[in-house]
Amino acid sequence: MRLKVLSDKAKEAIEVQFPSYPDKRSVLLPALRIAQEEIGYLSESAMIDVADLLGLTPVQVYEVATFYSQYNLKPVGKYLIQVCKTLSCALVGAGSIVTYLQEKLGIRTGETTSDGLFTLKLVECLAACGSAPMMQINDRYYEQLTPEKMDRILEDLKRDGKSPLATGPFMLPVMGERS
């Protein structure tokens, strides 16, 4: 089978999951994740490749790609900043976090900086309510945010591609913190 855009490596990463399920279609969500990681977003060609690999029609892939919020049907910046806007975060300042990021990056929510580095997006609850306000950038959470902390995170990412301020294995309250 000749794929349009996905690499052999991606194909292999998808096919290796087939034995985990009685039906290949079950690999659709993982396959779309792999495709998105490789291409950066889910282009039509990438979705057609996934359909071919899984023996599905393109529309069966498209209807799933459009249902789940983590799939990007358009290109996004190198760092996708997703700020939680749901109640617990909103109660303790998610709004000012968004305002701060918009001003700092010079973009509004839903937009990407002109250098292609940052996309800013509002999302619903990410299950980090006790350590609000919070944001997810690519595959890591950043919690208990303050303007100073956000400055450092964005500088770290620009410089090193990662930040030590990302949350590790989660525990709240932190041991020894309670009186």
Partner: protein, 433 residues
Amino acid sequence: MQTYEPILLKNMSRPGYVGSLEDYRGVGGYAMLEKVLKEMSPSDLIDIVKKSGLRGRGGAGFSTGMKWSFIPKDHTGPRYLCCNADESEPGTFKDRQLIERDPHQMLEGIGIACFAIGAHQAYIYIRGEFDLGAEIIQNAIREAYDAKLFGKDLFGTDFDIDVVLHRGAGAYICGEETALLESIEGKRGKPRTKPPFPAIHGLYQEPTVVNNVETLANLPYILKNGPEWYAGIGTQKSTGTRIFSVSGHVKRPGNYEVPLGITLREMIYEIAGGVREDKELKAIIPGGASAPFLKPEHLDARMDFESIAEVGSMLGSGGVTVMDVDTCMVWAAMNLMEFFHHESCGKCTPCREGSAWILQVLRRIEGGLGKPEDIDLLVSLCERIEGKTVCAFGEAEIGPILSTIKNFREEYETHIAEKRCPYRPDAALAIAH
């Protein structure tokens, strides 16, 4: 302040405990999986869990032993266990901690549940945003396979259990058990009509049990200490401990494991340190965004399934959100309606369309453009959703609206009379874009 002995959070509270296989086995981990496989029958196991009174920790609070017993005994084809790690109920962040700090505790519970229902295949459905949690579980699964705790012929028996981690991709509804099954099957996460229930026609139409992370994590301890021990914790009908996630305007937000049945007052004022800046309390959501709002007069209600239902809300997922006196209730209801509108899967018209209409009316009230008849209109819209949807999402989304109207009606009336939000003078501007 009274302290309580944790069960599920105990290991991770030990200094230096990181949740590796070595750590978990060091505290006796996997001994109960070995014991059930070698010495027990599935029906004994189901009886023990029934006797313990354990109820589902995902939100519905259904008896775990009972749920298992619905799996047809004479079914010859495959059966499946699904671990629901799709934690997405706003205000809830307990499973995340159980997963990231002690993954083997959950995995042992999965093995035990598989044996109870005769399943040889388990899927862990974890929400897509939990990248770190997925890495940690994947690593723990690898450790467990290497130690022959999963795989073929476990502990010298002929029982096989395979575990596969399946990652979601961002959809609250996939926490609903039939939507979760659809999602594993590679489809949109749209809940199925019930009956048939998953115990009869579940994943790939085979008998299936879906259990929450916290529910499963309890199993090793129930077996180790006995069902009487477990049933002796909590209240008569709501047994055991529960991990409550406390957030919002409290001084010490976090996950607290306590026996079921302590009061909201103890949870908020003693354990979580009280309201920030010692402000007056205005509202409490006791069990995740789907649970109706309560008022300070409910502070002495006990946090067990029955008592919270008696005061008109629900214990749900155990996510406790606290709001101080300066919080606008119309805004809070609007915020949650934005959530529900975004997350409605679109299958049932009353929910899909109704959520949009409710949000529109709330926005205009909050923005100072509300009309006196809007309050009745909201109630009418809610009534047109209740009981008219395939899954419980319909009842969930109207909870915040009806309960804020019931408990804080004067705030809606003030918004409409003054043509502005008394708490957020710039609300009209904010809503405009």
